[in-house]
């Protein structure tokens, strides 16, 4: 049951929950930047939560269906239109053979997740259909979706999924304004002065234009001052340089102490810039919904808070499952 891509939107890629296990070789886990939104969209159409769907940034694609299907659009507020008629997000929608799914203008958020009953059925690579363009892995020939592509769709599971069901608004999570991202200090935190440590959390930052699947750059806060040291052999001359090391997902590196970069699902696995901490796992999804220029505050937390937030997020997913069960 293929779907014809009439137009591709912006940076529309096939994503599932990713391919963990190869980070030590420089192949990141990838997968949906807002994993909760992809899970919710899949649940709405009766798929496994990890089925592959489409991730679109700001502008959605136009898709022509050749068979009846259920679709759901979660994450960004990017209202879907079926043959021109606007429909709600976070809701299971019936699309008939021959109909065209397109999208209205973006109202909030960044990334919309489009799930189709049966899931997109391109060949998995290293256990995942997620598109990792740098390594030409997954997706269609390792690249973003293009007009003229046909998307293969797997057999629908024909379970209880019903058109019209929706995820209750209380269970939809997005970044606030200003967005708040919780950060556990660590890694090379000791490399900046106490004043710089305070400034980082006190200042208001803004998402820069360089904000993609690899990472999000921020601007607007004060430059971080370094604790003086003689640079170790192999590290390079700049005080922000370290002997090339691994980069955790969500880690906050600050080249030359000026513009923090948070690495996301398609992270480079390592490099020579120091990091001052890591965004907690519970808040990673939010980053995927932040637009350039979004005002952002970093909130300092400890491990206890990070683990509690993680449990809260797990409960939220469980509540979404129950609301659709």
């Amino acid at each position: 049951m293929p779907i014809n891509v009439l137009s591709a939107g912006i940076a529309t890629t096939i994503q599932d929950l990713g391919r963990p296990g190869y980070y030590h070789l420089g192949i990141p886990m990838g997968g949906a930047m807002d994993r909760l939104a992809l899970r919710a969209a899949n649940l709405l159409v009766g798929n496994d939560e990890g089925a592959a769907g489409l991730e679109s940034v700001f502008v959605g694609p136009e898709l022509e269906f050749t068979e009846d299907a259920l679709v759901a659009v979660c994450g960004a507020e990017l209202p879907p239109r079926i043959d021109g008629e606007t429909c709600p997000t976070w809701t299971a929608l019936k699309v008939k053979a021959g109909q065209v799914l397109s999208f209205d203008f973006l109202q909030s958020g960044s990334r919309a997740y489009i799930a189709i009953s049966g899931g997109i059925d391109t060949p998995p690579m290293l256990g995942s259909r997620s598109t990792y363009a740098i390594g030409a892995l997954g997706g269609i020939d390792g690249r973003a979706v293009q007009p003229g592509d046909t998307l293969p769709v797997g057999p629908s599971s024909h379970n209880a999924a019903m058109p019209g069901r929706s995820v209750p608004e209380a269970l939809r999570r997005g970044p606030g304004n200003p967005a708040e991202l919780r950060v556990l200090p660590g890694l090379y935190w000791h490399r900046i002065t106490e004043q710089a440590q305070d400034n980082f959390f006190a200042d208001e930052w803004k998402v820069a234009n360089e904000a993609d699947r690899m990472g999000y750059r921020f601007q607007g806060g004060r430059k971080l001052e370094f604790v003086e040291r003689r640079q170790p052999f192999g590290a390079g001359a700049d005080p922000s340089n370290i002997t090339d090391a691994c980069y955790p997902y969500g880690s906050v590196q600050v080249p030359s102490g000026t513009e923090p970069i948070i690495l996301h699902r398609d992270a480079v696995s390592g490099g020579g810039y120091f990091m001052i901490g890591t965004v907690i796992s519970a808040d990673m999804d939010l980053i995927g919904q932040m637009q350039p220029h979004t005002a952002t505050r970093f909130i300092k937390v400890d491990m206890k808070t990070a683990l509690e937030a993680r449990q809260q997020r797990t409960r939220l997913i469980e509540q979404i499952r129950q609301s659709l069960a």
């Binding site: 963990p20 030590h24 420089g26 740098i134 192999g234 002997t243 969500g250 480079v268 990091m275 796992s281």
Partner: protein, 291 residues
């Protein structure tokens, strides 16, 4: 050396073996990551060795971060007493130094370079005190290298040369990164060589190119049939300078599926190496050319 343990959020533990790069620090990182892998700790999902550090990713729903931290510190004591010996392989990688493709690229980005009047390799030779590019190539391709990390992007190896610190080549990265680097460029930044596994942005100085693909997601290259990534940490590499004719011949062989990298199994002892660097390297190269 005293390792520093720190959390990378609620899903990673990051361990810095040493701030500075050395073969000893790399060996601790490699033996620690091997020990952690063998320990098969429930909840550990990824183990990533790096040059003088390493990282462990875990699922905090399965193991508490503090408990894992304690386990890793225990394992460090075990790893410290283990004999620093590694069963690995030595691989010969042909390099066409000063090739036309990296030359074209470096000319395009001259304004981002420390020395716009010279090429990358001329600059590197000069600041490292070599009389000529030829003498520099001899040093770069003479002693072998350890793959001390695989990463950044798809299967890209970082390599550290097996010579004492006085003989280590050091070059800064470009002032501003390039937006383009040919695939399979042999690069250099800090004290590390690398091979760009894919085309893309980069900041390392460009010395040459290898005809030997090291990453192939389609797995059509004969020696990448089993797995798409060629290198792993702990591999030993010897660069072999080649000319245009040899380069073209190797490219044709790769395309025909007949290219077979020269590889030999070797045992490396860090203690033997520290006692006699040149002698150890000579034995490694003998093993490489034994057949």
């Amino acid at each position: 050396m005293s390792s520093r343990y720190t959390f990378g959020g609620d899903e990673h533990i990051f361990v810095e073996v040493d701030e500075a790069m050395s073969l000893d620090a790399f060996f601790v990182s490699l033996s620690m990551t091997n020990a952690i892998r063998e320990a098969q700790i429930d909840g550990v999902t990824e183990i990533c060795p790096a040059n003088a550090s390493f990282q462990v990713k875990f699922d905090p729903d399965r193991i508490h971060p503090d408990d894992l931290m304690a386990r890793l510190k225990e394992l460090e004591e075990t790893a410290e007493t283990a004999e620093p010996v590694l069963d690995t392989r030595i691989v010969e990688i042909p390099v066409y130094y000063q090739d036309p493709w990296t030359h074209e690229t470096l000319m395009r980005f001259r304004e981002r370079h420390q020395d716009p009047e010279a090429t990358d390799i001329e600059y590197a030779a000069r600041i490292n005190g070599y009389d000529s590019v030829a003498a520099f190539i001899e040093a770069h391709s003479g002693a072998p290298w350890f793959v001390s990390m695989v990463g950044f992007v798809s299967g890209l190896p970082f390599l550290y040369q097996m010579v004492d610190r006085e003989r280590q080549i050091q070059v800064p990265k470009y002032l501003r990164p390039r937006t383009d680097t040919p695939k399979l460029t042999v690069g250099y930044g800090g004290c590390f060589s690398c091979v760009y596994s894919v085309r893309g942005a980069g900041g390392y100085q460009m010395f040459g190119i290898t005809p030997m693909p090291i990453f192939d997601p389609e797995q059509t290259v004969s020696y990448l049939e089993d797995f798409m990534v060629f290198f792993k940490p702990g591999d030993i590499v010897k660069w072999k300078p080649i000319d245009r004719q040899e380069y073209d011949a190797a490219v044709a062989q790769v395309q025909a599926g007949t290219y077979a990298p020269r590889i030999a199994k070797v045992r490396f002892s860090l203690n033997d190496y520290n006692a006699d660097i040149d002698g150890t390297n000579a034995r490694l190269l003998e093993a490489l050319h034994a057949d």
